[in-house]
Chain length 233, copies 2
């Protein structure tokens, strides 16, 4: 009988693992084979949620984002041999805007049961906290880096949000957050709502939803703060 | 100084509260004023996560979905008077496909800090577990009940998923799940992927992603099992 592939959420970058449910930690601690993005971070995380002694005995398989033809199928060999495996994200939920999704699809193809565990999702926390429409929403990960292309993308997303009511969620690399905010304040209409959710689960957490014209009066400095942007009606 | 509005996720219907992080439980247990959908369920949940003795001292404000002009602003009076408040969902994350979002928006308008806490989100767990595109996805809550309208909606969502790669997530009332599955198997193309995630976090959890033509050979019975549907490329 095949082992299972457990999907193990990580913290959102904070040191405090009290945001990780006991069930998730206990499940992770019973696993020996992990698929991870960064070996050192994964070992540190497993140790932080209470894994003791066995850290060196773990077998870690690395997901290399830059590999041309990743051998995700082969990584699942321990599961095919009957052992449970864990997929750990660098932050938040594995496989959400994250390389893990191909591992999950490979597991389905090989009839390995996939078991998502509970943990922090910055997308869901930002949406919950925004007060914007959470019955109809879309997530677009990263918008283009080039300013003109980014502002075209923002215009399209805003037009769609205003027409359909669908809230538009996206992210930015933290050191480009202020350029993203500049673009939003330049491109969007006065009455359009913008929600910013920065440093989620941390002491510096900041969540605000305001109309674009209100944000223009006093734009916050988002530089290097992990942030989720939501544009809505 | 205003109190905060904490957004407190609930289990996905199971009795097992080990999926609720310690930080979420500890935060909830320190609160006296709650906004809830059902008083009895809320008290039972707070008791299950460890609230002791004070259950009768709590002040609960009810969200009535059927009320014409709900007084969400007035419900937040304790927060304006300096007390922390909690918004609890009946299942999963409050305000996601759930009446709470207007309370959250009222809090933003009154400059009450909104603090989302970590807990189960069936949408995120289903998406993580699907292996489908989780960089571009949309959630549409419920599709129309009328068969023809439902199948039109499915066709539109499928066409969009195939054109753009955006995974399409939606739900159904559990006693109509089999009609939804019938419609999906009738309307969608052979190669389109369908992921079903039922009974998440429960012992009967079932998550599978297959092509429509594979599902047609052996459709599962989803009757009365809470289920998230995802259509993707």
């Amino acid at each position: 009988m095949n082992g299972k592939l457990f999907l193990i959420p990580n913290t959102l970058g904070g040191e405090d693992t009290s945001v990780i449910p006991q069930h998730t930690a206990e499940t992770a601690k019973a696993i020996k084979y992990f698929i991870v993005e960064n070996e050192r971070n994964a070992r540190r995380y497993l140790s932080a949620i209470g894994l003791k002694g066995r850290i060196r005995e773990l077998e870690l398989f690395l997901i290399d984002k830059h590999e041309r033809r990743p051998k995700y199928g082969a990584m699942l060999a321990p599961a095919l041999a009957g052992a449970d495996m864990g997929l750990i994200s660098e932050a938040g939920c594995p496989s959400i805007a994250d390389p893990g999704e191909e591992v999950v699809m490979a597991a389905h193809k090989q009839k390995i049961e996939v078991v998502p565990l509970v943990g922090p999702s910055s997308i869901m926390m930002a949406l919950m906290g925004s007060g914007l429409n959470a019955e109809q929403f879309a997530f677009s990960a990263y918008l283009p880096i080039d300013q003109r292309k980014r502002e075209d993308a923002i215009s399209r997303l805003e037009a769609w949000a205003l027409k359909t009511g669908q809230s538009q969620i996206f992210m930015e690399t933290p050191f480009r957050n202020n350029q993203m905010l500049d673009s939003l304040l330049r491109v969007c209409q006065n009455e359009t709502k913008l929600s910013l959710a920065c440093d989620l689960t941390m002491k510096t957490e900041y969540i605000r939803t305001k109309a674009i014209q209100t944000w223009r009066n006093n734009p916050p400095n988002l530089h290097k703060r992990p942030c989720i942007f939501i544009v809505g009606k």
